[in-house]
Amino acid sequence: MDKWTFGLTMLLVGTGGTFATLGILSLCIALLGRFFPSHLEAERPSNRNH
């Protein structure tokens, strides 16, 4: 593989892969927020000792 093919592959797959992974992670965070909303915790008093 020549240098330019390598560079272009890294540019496309690297940028695309980073965006795609962080996009998926962002969706998962949004789902976590849906499954565990903060207002439910506020209603249930915490019994954890610190």
């Binding site: 330019w4 890294m10 940028t15 965006f19 992974t21 962080l22 962002s26 565990f36 610190h50």
Partner: protein, 382 residues
């Protein structure tokens, strides 16, 4: 007898003799080491790193000291924690333990700003190839654009150890220069109306369970997609999980303080040890600094441009300036956004949103490195 005295004196003067015969690069690098120490001590530029790096640089350039030879102090530190990537990973545990991801979790879509803030890595890699660097050297130079010292050290120590000194110093120098580099780019790419957009504050929207589960979910997803970067993401998320679980306060405290401090000292000294004059003073070192600068400028511009897109899609509710915080220089980039925002509207508080983008940038930089390493592995280059 006199012959023996002369031999003994020669032993005492050999260092000075070397300095005058072939020691010019060492003298220059001792000056560079002194400059790094000065910047750290007097100007407050990343002192925790620049002081040990500068001192290590100073030590290794004193002729005939053997500190970087087998068994020498700096070589031992290098082998202990850089050659095997241990030190940057231990620092990541501390970073994870110090980072509060709540602003990001409250507004997860701004994680994408952290992805845009890594664009410079890949463009710079391309430029480095054009300047004649090898593939793995180009990867290591591009990673300066992550604006993330430990990540840059982790990647470079594995794939281009001969560039470690230059890449590390460039990465840490540019991180500290973010308040100077970013504002002109922020002004160039935004209109005065965009800079004055006020964003709603999202407080108290994240549950403790979300904060607790986030490190596990992030480790799992990113590890499955880019397993070569799992040591990086795994350690930062370990630190964060320990912080959020609330059960291991002593470990969190140690990660944030003792471990991070000791490792930072060792890491800095060992990096300084790689800056021996004859090996460091080459045109390619200047090229690395130039490319690192380009990388950070491109990162900033890309973050702002994505911020503008978000602004457009949200009907003007997102201030594009927060895109500039999508790099990993935490929390400096977020502070720069806050200062720039208030420069145009004194009652505009962008800090929490910028912090979200900035923590996204931390994850983004690690993710970009992980993706890059996994792609390299897929190509069979590592």
């Amino acid at each position: 007898m006199w012959e023996s005295v002369a031999t003994g004196l020669a032993g005492l003067t050999s260092g000075v003799a070397y300095l005058f015969s072939e020691g010019l690069p060492n003298v220059v690098m001792m000056a560079v080491g002194s400059l790094l120490i000065y910047l750290g001590v007097r100007k407050g530029v990343e002192p925790l790193l620049l002081v040990p790096i500068g001192f290590g640089c100073f030590l290794v350039n004193i002729p005939l000291s053997d500190l970087m030879e087998s068994g020498g102090l700096l070589r031992t530190l290098y082998q202990m924690g850089i050659a095997n990537e241990l030190f940057p990973l231990l620092i990541f545990v501390g970073i994870g333990a110090m980072t509060d991801f709540t602003p990001l979790l409250a507004n997860p879509k701004i994680l994408l700003l952290g992805a845009a803030g890594q664009t410079g890595i890949f463009l710079t890699l391309f430029l480095a190839l054009a300047l004649g660097f090898s593939e793995l050297e180009a990867v290591s130079i591009g990673i300066i654009g992550a604006c993330d010292g430990p990540t840059a050290i982790y990647v470079t120590s594995q794939y281009a150890p001969q560039l470690l000194g230059a890449v590390s110093v460039a990465a840490y120098s540019y991180m500290s220069l973010v308040p100077i580099i970013q504002p002109p780019i922020m002004r160039l790419f935004t209109t005065s109306r965009e800079r004055t957009i006020r964003m709603q504050i999202a407080r108290g929207k994240v549950s403790a369970r979300t904060r607790l589960l986030f490190p596990l979910v992030a480790t799992c997803i990113t590890g499955l997609i880019a397993p070569k970067g799992l040591p990086l993401m795994g350690t930062i998320m370990l630190g964060n999980f320990m912080k959020e679980c609330g059960a291991v306060a002593r470990l969190v405290n140690a990660s944030q303080n003792e471990i991070a401090n000791v490792v930072t000292l060792f890491l800095g000294l060992a990096i300084g040890g790689t800056m021996e004059g004859h090996a460091f003073l080459k045109p390619q070192t200047l090229a690395i600094f130039g490319l690192g600068f380009v990388a950070i400028c491109v990162d900033t511009a890309a973050g702002i441009l994505l911020g503008k897109l978000f602004c457009f899609l949200s009907g003007g509710k997102i201030n594009p300036l927060i895109g500039a915080a999508g790099i990993s220089a935490y929390p400096m980039a977020a502070r720069v956004v806050q200062i720039q925002g208030q420069r145009y509207d004194k009652k505009n508080y962008l800090l929490m949103h910028a912090m979200g983008a900035n923590t996204g940038g931390q994850i983004g930089s690690v993710m970009a490195a992980s993706v890059m390493l996994s792609v390299l592995k897929g190509m069979g280059l590592i």
